[in-house]
């Protein structure tokens, strides 16, 4: 997103937040428009239209699955459905409006969109016939979403599909090399949260407008945070009442976010370690400088976007959860992960780590606690790695952090009763605190090598330079 796009979005948020009536519906229309507007051009070009449309469609289907007949009434949801359909059709009609600066003009013919809406309605009708959904439907939905997620993260898996579709249409398949489905990583995790909670009986169903607003809430659509449905709708349904302090806080978060992202992170991007520099730098000291630049850049970039999202959310009356809490100033890896991309780690804790450790602890065959911790931490971190992309680098990054968390856990456990007396003095505490921060920051920074470099071979060669053994 550019600065000008963010200012336009901020102005829209300011206006929508001031609405006394129909805020939810207007927000819905704006959010759907924004996901089309921000969608990067995707080859084949028609996907630029179909990807945001698919986001809306998948969200509607997930809503049907998580709703109950009480909130699924036509009367209650017709305005939201009308808004959704209107924005989709309007975006499609851009082939006639020719507003290229807003959205692609290479949209499909209206009859294709009509056919798509009919198919969606039929599916919706079929799902809506259930009063109570069989659990297998939730399992199918979860697996389907995960498969879709994997598919977009592995473009090579999609190539055969595109070739088949192109052959069927009698066209050349050329042009498809990668898929950038804007915001789907976040959308899918919000959807999974609602489906899993609904299946567990923990979710209070909400009307269509509230559900779609939650999933594609435009301030947090592209870079999170991942909120929870109940908390989000509570804020959404409350009147927006911003006091003086709130206005100041909104401005502070928004402008601080802009500064972090567009001044600090973008400047650090010029000198942050990458594949090219990895081959050009032979001095250990400079390699550390470039690595630290990457560490700081990724933090300021991501936390800057989060600040902007939180600021804009406040304008709309929604207090989005915090995603960062000074992670690089934490004295150990556990605390780092409790303060880095917090909403994602909380998601994994709720839906993977905790159920897994519970299952292992309560299994008939007793599993030693260290093994439970090892398996749960490594598998959780590998999955978090895979969430970023299905590559060997992200798997290794996950393993690096999983192993780090396990070692730190065991070390803390071991040292609990063995701490020397000096460690409890104020000086000792301070030394431990600062050395912990230093070690954690460097451990995390070394882990970023798997993130930023394209092959493990490059990671090893950079590590060799960093430690002067090249």
């Amino acid at each position: 997103m550019s600065v000008s796009q963010l200012f336009i979005i901020a102005a829209i948020a300011l206006l929508v937040g001031q609405l006394k009536m129909g805020r939810s519906l207007v927000l819905l229309g704006v959010s759907v428009f924004v996901i089309y507007w921000l969608q990067p051009t995707q080859e084949p070009i028609t996907l630029t239209f179909w990807l945001p449309t698919a986001t809306v469609a998948v969200t509607i289907l997930a809503w049907l699955l998580t709703s109950t007949p009480e909130v699924r009434t036509w009367k209650q949801n017709l305005p939201a459905a009308a808004v959704l359909l209107s924005v989709i059709v309007l975006m499609d009609l851009n082939r006639y409006f020719h507003l290229e600066s807003v959205f692609t003009t290479a949209t499909p013919r209206l009859q294709w969109v009509g056919a798509f809406v009919v198919i969606l309605l039929v599916l919706a009708f079929l799902i809506a016939r259930f009063r109570e959904f069989p659990p297998v439907l939730f399992v199918i939905a979860v697996i389907g979403l995960i498969l879709l997620f994997i598919l977009i993260k592995v473009p090579s898996a999609l190539s055969p599909l595109f070739e088949t579709v192109s052959a069927f249409r009698g066209k050349e398949a050329g042009g498809f090399t990668s898929l950038s489905w804007l915001g789907f990583s976040y959308v899918s995790f919000r959807l999974l949260h609602t489906i899993l909670d609904r299946n567990a009986g923990r979710l209070t169903p909400v009307p269509l407008a509230e559900y779609v607003n939650y999933v594609i809430f435009f301030p947090s659509f592209t870079a999170g945070p991942i909120d929870r449905l109940e908390r989000f709708t509570r804020d959404l349904n409350a009147p927006v009442a911003l006091g003086r302090e709130d206005w100041i806080d909104v401005g502070r978060r928004f402008f601080l976010g802009l500064f972090k992202k567009f001044v600090i992170a973008d400047a650090l991007a010029w000198i942050a370690l990458n594949d090219v520099f990895a081959e050009q730098v032979s001095s250990s000291a400079w390699m550390w400088v470039l690595l630290y630049s990457f560490s700081l850049r990724i933090y300021f970039d991501f936390s800057g976007y989060t600040d902007i999202a939180i600021g804009l959310g406040r304008l709309l009356g929604v207090r989005l959860p915090e995603n960062f809490a000074s992670p690089y100033l934490k004295p150990n890896l556990t605390q780092f992960w409790n303060s880095w991309h917090m909403t994602l780690t909380q998601w994994f804790r709720s839906y993977f780590f905790n159920p897994l450790t519970r299952a292992m602890r309560s299994s008939r065959q007793p599993v030693p606690s260290y093994l439970t911790i090892l398996v749960a931490q490594i598998s959780t971190m590998v999955l978090i790695g895979l969430w970023h992309g299905v590559t060997v680098g992200f798997v290794l990054w996950g393993l690096w952090h999983g192993a780090g968390l396990f070692i730190q856990n065991r070390w803390s456990d071991y040292m609990k009763d063995r701490m020397p007396a000096w460690a409890n003095t104020p000086t000792g505490q301070m030394v431990l605190q600062y050395s912990g921060i230093f070690l954690t920051f460097n451990f995390v920074s070394l882990g970023w090598l798997f993130f930023t470099l394209s092959t493990p071979a490059k990671v090893w060669s950079v590590m060799a330079v960093l430690f002067g053994v090249a």
Partner: protein, 370 residues
């Protein structure tokens, strides 16, 4: 009593402060282009900063003070140094070459000694063919006490009336040169129009320039760490296009036309005047010759024979009558030592060119007869 914060008041104060800072910036006009970490924190660059292709790790800064501030020539000259400044266009700058592969660095690698001094060459070429641009750079170079200036020219350099980004960024100097030395640069009136208005002098108006200068300073870290001033991914060593066609026209002119009046020789004369007493060596740079025997129309994709032959004749006559140090090396490098179909030499080609110039360079520097 706790004072209450009023967001509207904060907004108004912030706006006032913003306006005041912008006005002050425009009035004070701080010479930020001369503030540089190069030659201080980072080593000076071996050539002027120029963005190559879409490389995000390069930056183009056209303002001549900022360009020189980042260059190694801004470092203090040692008593044992014989300083040679190389002027020219992209062929001197070293398009398609790394920072330590282009002509000045190859020259320096020879470590030529002369009367107890080491000849050290500085690449001050810049990728816009324009003798007016070269003249502005020469005017700046003399501030750095050169012992010799080698000025590479070609037909495109001497005939160009184009207003390139360098000239717009340094329009005041360009206009001054044109007027002081009576150079028939037909678009000087347009250049004068680039005089910034008040808004363009404010922080807001200057933001793009400032951002590029900040980027130039940040890239000092990369320059120091890697010794690379551009991404090797953007360095192309081979251009396969050798198709030259048989169009006899040159810039829309037919073979019957005379180009003499279009050649800006007065800029070369001005260069001599400005450099005086520093000697200047003018080199007609080598051009790619596709097939000298069989092709009767063109030497290459850039030059038809008639235009280039006329140019060679005119510059040779001019050099002789003005008493310039002039070296015509137009065909000194065989075509296989070019990296593309008209202008740029390969690394081996640069080496050959250096061999050709060295005797003359040493004759000037060491006062020996070549």
């Amino acid at each position: 009593m706790k004072s209450e914060i009023n967001p509207v008041r904060i907004l108004v104060k912030a706006l006032c402060l913003f306006v005041i800072i912008n006005i002050l910036y425009a009035l004070i006009d701080p010479q930020v282009s001369q503030v540089s970490g190069y030659n201080l924190v980072f080593p000076g660059r071996t050539r002027l900063p120029f963005g190559v292709g879409g490389d995000p790790y390069t930056v183009t800064v056209d303002e001549v003070d900022a360009m020189f501030a980042s260059h190694a020539i801004s470092a203090r000259k040692s008593a044992k140094e014989y300083r040679v400044a190389l002027l020219g266009d992209s062929s001197v700058w070293g398009e398609d070459m790394g920072a330590y592969e282009m002509i000045s660095e190859q020259w320096n690698a020879l470590n030529i000694q002369c009367e107890g001094k080491t000849i050290r060459t500085y690449n001050l070429g810049y990728p816009h063919p324009s003798v007016l641009k070269d003249l502005i750079i020469l005017d700046k170079v003399v501030e750095y006490d050169p012992d010799l200036i080698i000025w590479f020219v070609t037909l495109n350099t001497l005939i160009s009336q184009r207003i390139n980004p360098f000239l717009t960024a340094n329009h005041a100097r360009a206009v001054e040169m044109v007027e002081t030395y009576d150079i028939p640069f037909t678009r000087s009136r347009i250049l004068r129009g680039y005089e910034p208005n008040f808004y363009e002098k404010t922080l807001m108006g200057e933001r793009s320039n400032l951002a590029r200068q900040i980027k130039l300073q940040m890239l000092g870290i990369i320059w120091t760490a890697t010794g690379a001033d551009n991404n090797p991914l953007y360095i192309h060593s081979d251009f396969p296009s050798y198709a030259i066609g048989d169009d006899p026209r040159y810039r829309g002119m037919q073979p019957s036309e005379d180009i003499e009046n279009m050649l800006l020789f007065s800029a070369l004369t001005a260069g001599y005047d400005i450099a005086d007493p520093t000697p200047v060596l003018i080199v007609n740079e080598p051009v790619f010759i596709v097939n000298a025997e069989s092709d009767a129309v063109r030497y290459n994709a850039v030059y038809p024979r008639w235009a280039y032959d006329q140019y060679r004749e005119y510059i040779a006559t001019q050099a002789q009558s003005a008493g310039w140090n002039y070296l015509d090396l137009w065909n000194a490098v065989p075509s296989k030592y070019f990296s593309d179909a008209g202008l740029h030499l390969s690394i081996e080609g640069e080496r050959l060119l250096i061999q050709q110039i060295n005797p003359v360079l040493q004759s000037i520097a060491c006062d020996t007869t070549p």
